[in-house]
């Protein structure tokens, strides 16, 4: 018995080591990005980090609580415009813009979540889709605030006090730092009481209610948190790119986000993060394969939408557990190796996640 718990703690140490190595890789990556197109590569990697942040919020909402959102691009946009308005138009510091993005998306999430409480499944999906489209129209039409269809330019770079995140490296570290923080927060949430009730909600609403879970409060909270993650991502996006326009915050992007969450798999944070990285890089294959010819690049970009769509359909049909499911299987084998070489039935972890 004591031998086994010793092994389990050894396994946990292995897991912690994996996480530490991953963090280190992400942290030192910019130091190895050199050469003529270093700026471009770092920009793309920063963009990957922004998507990881949004998809982490979607993983909580969709993967853990089982609630669909086809309107997350709208929260991303709300955060971006709120932050842009506060920093560029009002001339406030970036962290005030960030706070505004958080406040506005929290309110937006609340405004959508509360009346949607009765809705589930496809009705909820449609309501979020409708909300997203309305927000997109607002982004276009409320031109005195948003700059209309031409977009909003001249947004200042992110800064903290007198420090301005001016180099591509510092922006990369900022974005990935925030993303890592969001994943850590999410990890704590999903491995504790709130995460358990989210998974219960996903499993059986009746069962969750009969266990004393306040579904109303739970759904609203998860929705708001996931909206705020998208809003923070929006604020980072606006400040790092310096320009936002409505064409970024479309239904199409909402679907791409869902594709990432689906490919990542349910009840996981690592899976969706990996999927966000993979699917974002599909748009930039020249980053992964630097020698790629322009023609191939053009073909890939031309078929990008089809790739996303096929990923969605094929994953749901043939790999419903997504990347996380595959990861769990591998980790299961690994653990059996570490914990019980005999390979007998071992306890599954209590954590809902392998991240």
């Amino acid at each position: 018995m004591s031998g086994r718990s010793l092994n389990i703690s050894r396994f946990l140490t292995v897991r912690a080591a994996i996480v530490a190595v991953l963090l280190l890789v992400v942290a030192v990556l910019p130091l190895f990005v050199t050469g003529t197109d270093a700026r471009y590569v770092l920009k793309v990697l920063t963009f990957v980090g922004i998507n990881v942040l949004i998809v982490t919020g979607l993983a909580l909402l969709f993967g853990y609580a089982g609630q669909v959102s086809l309107g997350h691009a709208a929260f991303y946009g709300l955060g971006a415009y709120a932050s842009a308005y506060v920093t560029a138009t009002l001339g406030m510091p970036w962290f005030v813009g960030l706070a505004a993005a958080i406040a506005v998306t929290a309110l937006g999430g609340l405004a959508l979540a509360v009346p949607s409480l009765r809705l589930r499944g496809h009705y909820l999906a449609m309501a979020t889709l409708g909300f997203g489209e309305i927000m997109r129209i607002v982004f276009v039409e409320a031109s005195s605030i948003t700059g209309g269809p031409d977009g909003f330019s001249g947004i200042p770079l992110p800064s903290l006090g007198s420090f301005v995140f001016a180099t591509p490296q510092s922006i990369y570290w900022l974005v990935w730092g925030v993303a890592a923080l969001a994943i850590m927060i999410s990890y704590n949430i999903v491995s504790g009481r709130p995460g358990r009730s989210m998974r219960a909600l996903h499993g059986s609403e009746l069962g969750a209610m009969a266990s004393g879970v306040d579904l109303v409060g739970l759904k609203v909270r998860v929705f708001v948190i996931s909206a705020v993650f998208a809003g923070v991502a929006g604020s980072l996006y606006a400040a790092t790119v310096g320009f936002v326009s409505p064409s970024t915050f479309t239904f199409h992007f909402s679907v791409v986000l869902v594709a990432m969450a689906v490919l990542g798999g349910t009840r996981s944070l690592a899976g969706p993060a990996a999927a966000a990285i993979l699917l974002t890089l599909v748009s930039f294959p020249d980053i992964v394969l630097p020698g790629l010819s322009r023609d191939i690049l053009a073909v890939v970009q031309d078929w990008e939408v089809d790739i996303y769509a096929l990923v969605i359909i094929l994953v749901v049909l043939f790999l419903p557990e997504g990347i996380a499911g595959a990861g769990r299987r591998v980790l299961g084998l690994l653990r059996r190796g570490v914990v019980e070489p005999s390979g007998s039935d071992s306890g599954t972890g209590q954590r809902g996640d392998e991240a």
Binding site: P115, H122, A309
Partner: protein, 307 residues
């Protein structure tokens, strides 16, 4: 405010007289007929599978695009081109069901939502590869317009009313009097019972997708001469058709038609009296209001979840 000459005052100070109002109403009914066809498609698939087909709007796009292709590329005469376009759209609906819906045997609603969303994206993207990114037009079925109490109505609008009306009548006839229609209804009510009396539910699901696609295709064919079409018009038709279906009450064909016409009227009246800036937002706002306040629809009975 109603003045002595019977003028209505719009919010922007623009005045709307009676023929003009009629003009708006007719335009609303014309759009509403299109929405009704799309809403019927939603309803048919929903009744047989319990699934909302998020790709429904793409059938409208395909109906237009394939007809244009048959007309300009194949050089078929317009009636034949339209027929071919609609039938091919129906075929796409069947293939979509066979390839993307049927393999997911457990029918998990969350999974099917996502599959149809992916399907929607795929269909529109494939249409772009096949037919290009530009807008496409089709000649009107008949030129000119008629005068109705001072309002002028394009003859193409009459075609739209006609096509929608015939589709609804045929559908009603099929559901009430043909073996196939009865089988589909039986299946929607109770799958296992249907299987017991020798109806294969899977077949009915496939057929319902085909039928829904044909209805969408008809809508696309009828509206393309007026509004043109392009690979990316699907989602907007889908959302409006769904708003119509939910406004009426999902699952009831008549309610779907009523919902479509009501939505079309509401939309054009709001343009007449409020503003055209947010025209596209109107149906979305109606959609959200209905979802939040009365998800069973205006014409649907109350429903309660069974525990």
């Amino acid at each position: 405010m109603i003045s002595s000459t019977g003028l209505f005052q719009g919010r922007h100070g623009k005045t709307v007289d009676t023929p003009e109002l009629l003009q708006f109403a007719l335009a609303g009914l014309k759009n509403g007929s299109i929405y009704a066809l799309v809403a019927l498609g939603f309803t048919i698939v929903y009744a047989s599978t319990g699934v909302l087909n998020f790709a429904q709007g793409e059938f409208v796009m395909l109906g237009g695009m394939l007809s244009v292709w048959a007309y300009s590329t194949l050089g078929l005469p317009l009636p034949l081109a339209g027929l071919l376009g609609v039938l091919l759209t129906g075929l796409v609906g069947v293939i979509f069901e066979l390839l993307a819906i049927r393999p997911r045997k457990d029918g998990d609603p969350l999974a099917l939502i996502i599959i149809t969303v992916g399907g929607s994206m795929l269909l529109s993207s494939l249409a772009r590869h096949l037919f290009g990114p530009t807008e496409k037009a089709l000649p009107r079925f008949s030129e000119g317009s008629v005068n109705i109490f001072g309002a002028s109505l394009e003859r193409q609008s009459l075609w739209i009313f006609g096509i929608a009306a015939v589709a609804v009548v045929l559908l009603t006839f099929m559901y009430s009097y043909t073996r196939l229609g009865k089988a589909m209804r039986a299946c929607a009510i109770d799958r296992n019972a249907a299987r017991l009396v020798g109806i294969e539910p899977r077949m009915m699901v496939t057929l319902s997708f085909g039928l829904a696609a044909i209805l969408g295709g008809l809508a696309g064919l009828a509206t393309t001469p007026l509004t043109q079409t392009a690979f990316n018009v699907g989602p907007s038709f889908g959302v409006k058709g769904f708003a119509a279906a939910i406004l009426g009450g999902l699952g009831n064909p008549f309610a779907a038609v009523l919902g479509g016409l009501t939505l079309g009227l509401l939309e054009s009246m709001s343009v007449a009296f409020i503003s055209s800036t947010y025209k596209d937002a109107i149906s979305l706002i109606i959609l959200l209001l209905v979802l939040f306040v009365r998800p069973q629809g205006l014409f649907g009975g109350s429903s309660r979840q069974k525990v």
